[in-house]
């Protein structure tokens, strides 16, 4: 008798265990899963994005402005960008599309890695808007094999933001700072240091954004269009590295180790300029006491043939996943980010996001004279520079190659020759990304 009771308990425990294991699956689909129809007949779309003040605010604004045929209810789930990258990678590589969103924001420099790693995971949306309405440089990263997968969102068009007071003290007016080369920038940095004692810019040694900015002024990248690794004979990269070293060697840079220190460097008035993507402007404006002390000039170019005073730094685009509800999601994007000029005006005034939709730049909001920047039409200027940004193919391995370069860069700064450094980096990258 006693044995039977034991047996019964064991069976009972087993059942509980199995029930607990199996139970998870049936329950999780009810919340957060993409694409259902809600009670009032609207199609539900789930979107993943980061930054509530910027990307998510833009999405919500788009949802308010949407006026297409299909009724849509948008649910935005906020995640840090790193988490989105992780969740997409684990989710997509597992082969099931369960739990994936309909809409996702992906940084341009990562886009190719996703598009090529997970064929068929993304839905081509070229039919829902006209890609030619968007800035040229945004199209290469967002398309693959002739199909348009991404709808270009914000621009990373760069500007050379500088402190007018410091630069004046060093003897420079705005006209002296327009259409510079990076070599001239370094000379000016030396003057600024000598006259005012301030470093010209702040840099995080782990973040090589400044090299990418310099390189893209000539339309080159770490890889060529067919994916060949292009480091050893990359003349623009060589020049960029030389400038970088000269800035470092002459103590013209304030070194920081994370983002908040980077922001603090210019908010505290320590550094004289910020050459970066235009999205840095709100952070500069955050320090109200410096109102009127800033201006922005076009980004310096490398002193080479074909280089222009325009470059890109960051920026991302919207992608639709190839799951149920993809047509509704694509229609939503096409109707808002893809064609609505008025929406772009409120995007600018309410969120401060500069899109890459060219027809929008003729609107009123772009003419705004910004008091913080001494009455300069900052947004209009940036939108003009945006159209000149040379198009580059970011390829698949930007971040992988950059880690190799940043390790080699340390040795270069410590005296290794530039040729050796790049040859070593080339060999490493070729071994790693064949």
């Amino acid at each position: 008798m006693g044995k039977k009771i034991w047996l019964f308990i064991v069976v009972l425990l087993t059942t509980f265990l199995l029930a607990a294991c199996g139970g998870g699956n049936s329950e999780e689909s009810s919340s957060g899963d993409a694409s259902e129809t809600t009670a009032d007949g609207a199609t539900k779309i789930v979107a993943w994005a980061w930054d509530p003040n910027f990307n998510i605010a833009a999405l919500n604004l788009a949802s308010e402005n949407y006026n297409g045929d299909t009724e849509i209810e948008l649910e935005v789930i906020e995640n840090a960008q790193d988490d989105i990258v992780q969740k997409l990678n684990t989710g997509l590589s597992s082969g099931t599309m369960k739990g994936m969103p309909n809409l996702v924001l992906i940084e341009d420099q990562r886009a190719q890695s996703f598009l090529q790693s997970y064929p068929d995971a993304f839905y081509p949306i070229g039919d829902y808007f006209n890609p030619e309405d968007f800035a040229d440089y945004k199209l290469a990263p967002t398309s693959l094999e002739g199909e348009q997968y991404g709808l270009p969102f914000d621009t990373g068009a760069t500007g050379f933001f500088y402190r007018t007071d410091y630069l004046e003290e060093a003897g420079y007016t705005h006209d002296d700072l327009v259409d510079l080369t990076w070599a001239e920038f370094v000379e000016i940095a030396k003057d600024v240091k000598e006259q005012t004692g301030h470093a010209m810019l702040a840099l995080d040694p782990n973040d090589l954004g400044i090299l990418r900015i310099m390189m893209q002024t000539t339309g080159t990248w770490y890889t060529t269009e067919d994916g060949t690794i292009n480091l050893a004979d990359n003349e623009p990269l060589k020049r960029a590295l030389e400038h970088y070293k000269e800035l470092m060697d002459n103590d013209l840079v304030k070194l920081v180790s994370d983002w908040s220190q980077y922001l603090a460097a210019f908010n505290s008035g320590d550094v004289a300029s910020v050459p970066a993507g235009n999205w840095i402007a709100p952070s500069i404006e955050a320090e109200e006491s410096q109102s009127g002390l800033w201006a922005v000039a076009p980004i310096p170019r490398l002193d080479m043939e074909g280089a222009v005073n325009a470059s890109n730094h960051g920026g991302s685009s919207w992608y639709v996943l190839n799951i149920d509800g993809k047509e509704a999601a694509a229609e939503f994007l096409g109707n808002t980010f893809g064609s609505n000029v008025d929406f772009y005006q409120s995007l600018l005034t309410d969120v401060g996001a500069i899109g890459t939709y060219i027809p929008a730049s003729e609107g009123d909001a772009y003419q705004f004279e910004n008091e913080f920047f001494g009455g300069q039409k900052v947004i209009y200027d940036i939108s003009q520079w945006m159209e000149e940004i040379p198009q580059v193919d970011y390829g698949m391995n930007t971040y992988g190659i950059e880690d190799i370069i940043s390790a080699e860069l340390q040795q270069y700064l410590n005296g290794k020759s530039l040729e050796d450094m790049l040859a070593d980096a080339q060999a490493q990258a070729e071994a790693q990304f064949k």
Binding site: K3, W6, L7, V10, L13, T14, L17, D82, V85, Q86, N89, L92, S93, G95, S113, F114, Q116, S117, Y118, P119, A121, D204, P205, N206, L255, V256, S257, D258, Q261, A264, M396, N397, Y399, G400, D403, I404, S406, A407, E408, L409, Q410, Q411, Q428, A431, Q432, F433
Partner: protein, 306 residues
């Protein structure tokens, strides 16, 4: 004839086996549950990870490449750097931490010490803080305008702020200081509890024989704590090989790859670069192999009692 005999013997054996099974079946069922659980959640993923390590490719396009990934390890400079870094952490940090923990535990074991409970808690407290939270705080402490630099500047020990996080050597030192702070108290608790079991009469006898306290430490305390020292050094070795949170949050592997650990490289291979889960699994297996080898070595060196 012989055939029938054999089959009879067989069925006899079977019968005893069956009766034994029947006798113990409840025990078997209990064991079965945990065996199934361990098999399903430990061994099955391990086998799958090994199979994954034989494949390579971007994201979902994995192809079978045999042992190519393992060959690739030897010509992968980033892997070699991260391996070297991990060993530097291991060789510097584990001994320093073990010695410090021993030192603290002996001090705190002194029955004449006042506020013992307070000091014990204070030294153990870091071990209960969240890895990410303390790593972020260390990042700010060692920042260019951080408290450490302010302090050193204020004491006139240095004239310009040290680049704790952006100098290859100082960044490693920062990481080592951080993990030592976090784990010393944890190890100290093991030694303290072991010291409680040491017979006091031994020290008494030693004192009567005229042994100094240093001699007592080396000839009584250390030999008696040997099994615990072995245990803590193995646990710390495994922990250091899996080092991730601190590096990720304090230096993000930088400057360059100067503080990159193996685990962080695995993370980068899977999520930061274009994902190659096959190769990432291969690198994970390196950690498994290293843990086995190092634990074996430590057992060999310190394990034999005579």
């Amino acid at each position: 004839m012989s055939q029938t005999a054999r089959s009879a013997g067989n069925s006899n054996q079977q019968r005893t086996f069956m009766t034994r099974l029947k006798k113990n079946y409840i025990g078997w069922i209990f064991i079965l549950l945990s065996v199934l659980g361990i098999g399903l959640f430990y061994f099955y993923p391990m086998v799958q990870a090994f199979l994954l390590s034989l494949r390579s490719g971007m994201g979902a396009n994995l192809e079978f490449v045999g042992f190519d990934n393992y060959v690739r390890l030897f010509s992968d400079p980033t892997f070699i750097t991260s391996l070297t870094n991990t060993f530097i952490y291991l060789l510097v940090q584990v001994p320093v931490m073990i010695l410090l923990a021993l030192f603290f535990s002996v001090l705190l074991n002194d029955p004449k010490l006042k506020f013992r409970g307070f000091f014990r808690t204070a030294i153990f407290l870091p071990a209960v803080t969240s890895l990410v939270a303390y790593a972020v705080i260390f990042k700010y402490l060692f920042g260019n305008d951080g408290l450490v630099n302010e302090f050193l500047l204020g004491m006139n020990l240095i004239s310009t702020p040290l680049n704790w996080l952006s100098d290859p050597v100082l960044a490693k030192i920062t990481i080592i200081i951080a993990i030592t702070w976090r784990w010393t108290g944890y190890n100290m608790i093991f030694y303290l509890s072991a010291l409680q079991n040491v017979d006091k009469s031994m020290y008494e006898a030693a004192r009567i024989d005229g042994a100094s306290s240093i001699q007592q430490f080396f000839f009584i305390t250390i030999p008696l704590l040997k099994p615990i020292i072995l245990f803590t050094s193995i646990v710390s070795t495994i922990g250091t090989l899996q080092l991730f949170d601190e590096v990720m949050n304090i230096t993000n592997g930088g400057p360059g790859n100067a503080t990159m650990s193996i685990s962080m490289y695995i993370y980068n291979l899977s999520f930061e670069y274009t994902p190659d889960f096959g190769y990432a699994a291969t690198v994970s297996y390196v950690i498994v192999v290293l843990v086995v080898i190092l634990s074996f070595l430590q057992f060999r060196v310190a394990g034999d009692r005579d």
